[in-house]
Symmetry: C2
Subunit: 328 residues, 2 copies
DNA sequence: GTCAAAAATTGAAACGTTTTTCTGACTGGA
DNA sequence: TCCAGTCAGAAAAACGTTTCAATTTTTGAC
């Protein structure tokens, strides 16, 4: 139960606590000789800075929050990896919270982050209500939207053009000869789902038949397949709002003896690693996930560390169609 | 930049700060009337407790750390989901860190957790050195090992019988007629990889040909396939230390025109969701991942909240063979 | 209506840092 | 030798909670 504080270190090194603090936070302000001595004392005593005391006094922490919609979705783990790389480089810790598509859970998580006095928050919001985020900002917590367009112009955001992606997907299906197309999606309260539909219908030239599932998981995809079959009238092609749905749907179709792409063409979204390894390699719309996480974090930390010079930016990436067997 | 503290709330409610603190931490100690009044004040002022100040004074936080080896591996995201469920129920926040298989990174992450004064740590250690964890315990931070047998008897751990799993996997391959078997694995510094090999060789009755990759990802699996082919002498069957390797290997073999299971039988480990959806549905060894996370967290929080009555436990789950096409 | 015991509330100290102001101790130019 | 100008380091005051002993209020039994 070792409990060495900054004063113990100070005593050991024969300096004042203030000097130890300087060694920790502005090493350049202290002479090499004493710095060396203090660092030795820290090492010998196994001192670990008390983050809470530090945060309390300094008024801000070295942590950022990352709130995602589904940590089980490889899309978000890829984003997370990018976030962690950058944060870690700049000495920030990341508190990861998973809203699991539940607005209530997201709210609880944001409260925890606010209590922890995180420096900033990266969030893929689970709905379109900006009020919660404005409340965070009022508390002095910077917010950067991830995979979401900005609510207003005085904030940073990093997104991918989902309308364009939806358009590209359906255009490809039509060029492959499909005339009847079904859009299988998660909750249409999620912006990504809406935008991809909008893009899809723009390419299609009219409203699409839609199957809306409560989740965007392989399980939901499989259920969507049952629904599709039960409703009768199999389409030429199915566009799924993400790859998890598509993979589940593919399995569901296979169960029913329906072949992809011979009977139904299938296209997903995200191009997760597993898309290429699936039963029939899945055509998908690739997003620069890793880059998304990196850039979002860079923007956030710039906003935190250089509030004076920081210029808010809205970054928009372009997705890329990856054609595989499921649409041939 | 609202900055209401406990004293503002106290003023508004016409009570002392101590009473507000009681409402927050032991509501049963304060009369319903004043409690009501204080809660109203909290709501009206939008007060959010300063977690750092609270942690500083109380000497402990309401957060736990979770350190995993690869957040991109569905095995760990499933465990994480279980952890989060239980922690969230008991009012704890989870700080998730990813060691990405790097010992140095794990060490850095543990330091961050120690600085944050987390109440306890759930960890799947990336190597066998118990020193780092002992150091945490010396600091009064409880540690529960996840997917790892105990280093000593005075600690909690939750594991799955990997030797048994390895044995079951190879026994199944042999019963299917395989006589030459290759074990494709991640770093043999990882216990899971070692144990699964031990179990595999027990079933095989002697040493197996081993291909050791530096990572346990689909990419590494694909490279393993190239290696396997380059080395010549294709075996009857391949046992992969996890499903990611197996899926990558499957893709790699397909590229080279080698068919699974006709030319080579293939079995993975973990039974991640994607195993069933792969090109050829993958035979695998299923682990109770979600349960692993739940039980580990229950043990940890019991240790934290009831140190007096807590009894250390070492839980060992049994894996389950799931047979699919890749071994038929 | 009184009194002791229990319950509710108060007030101030303390948690371990960071920050700011201030004091000495050097430096080098006159 | 003196002085202004630097630079290192010291000392003490915060930061916003929780806790604990002390005090007041309420309760219940007689």
């Amino acid at each position: 139960m070792s409990d060495v504080g900054i004063v113990d270190v100070a005593a050991r090194a024969g300096v004042s606590p203030g000097t130890v603090s300087n060694v920790l936070n502005r090493p350049e302000k202290v002479s090499p000789a004493t710095r060396e001595r203090v660092e030795a004392a820290i090492r010998e005593l196994g001192f670990v800075r008390h983050g809470s005391a530090s945060t309390l006094r300094a008024g801000h922490s070295r942590t950022i929050g990352l709130s995602v919609i589904d940590i089980g979705n490889p899309f978000f783990t890829d984003v997370t990896a990018g976030v962690e790389e950058v944060a870690s480089d700049l000495g920030y810790a990341v508190i990861l919270s998973n809203s699991a598509g539940s607005r209530a859970k997201e709210e609880r998580n944001l409260l925890v982050l606010a209590e922890q006095r995180v420096r900033g928050v990266l969030i893929t919001p689970s709905d379109e209500d900006p009020a919660r985020l404005d409340r965070l900002r009022d508390r002095g917590i910077s917010v950067v939207l991830v995979d979401h367009p900005p609510h207003r112009s005085d904030q940073c955001s990093v997104a991918v053009n989902d309308i364009g992606g939806g358009t590209a997907a359906v255009r490809h299906l039509m060029e492959s000869g499909a005339t009847s197309i079904v859009y299988v999606t998660g909750p249409l309260t999620i912006r990504q789902c809406l935008d991809r539909r909008a893009g899809a219908e723009r390419a299609f030239g009219g409203p699409l038949r839609v199957i809306e599932m409560p989740a965007m998981t392989p399980r939901a995809g499989q259920q969507a397949a049952e629904k599709l079959i039960a409703e009768g009238g199999l389409p030429d092609a199915v566009f799924c709002a993400n790859d998890l749905l598509a993979l589940g749907l593919m399995r569901g179709l296979a169960h029913a003896g329906i072949r992809v792409p011979q009977d139904v063409a299938l296209i997903g979204y995200d191009d997760i690693d597993f898309a290429a390894a699936s039963a029939v390699a899945l055509t998908s719309v690739r997003q620069p996930t890793h880059q998304l996480g990196r850039v979002a974090t860079e923007l956030l930390l710039d906003e935190c560390d250089n509030p004076a010079t920081h210029a808010h930016q809205q970054v928009m990436f372009q997705p890329e169609l990856v054609i595989r067997e499921s649409t041939r």
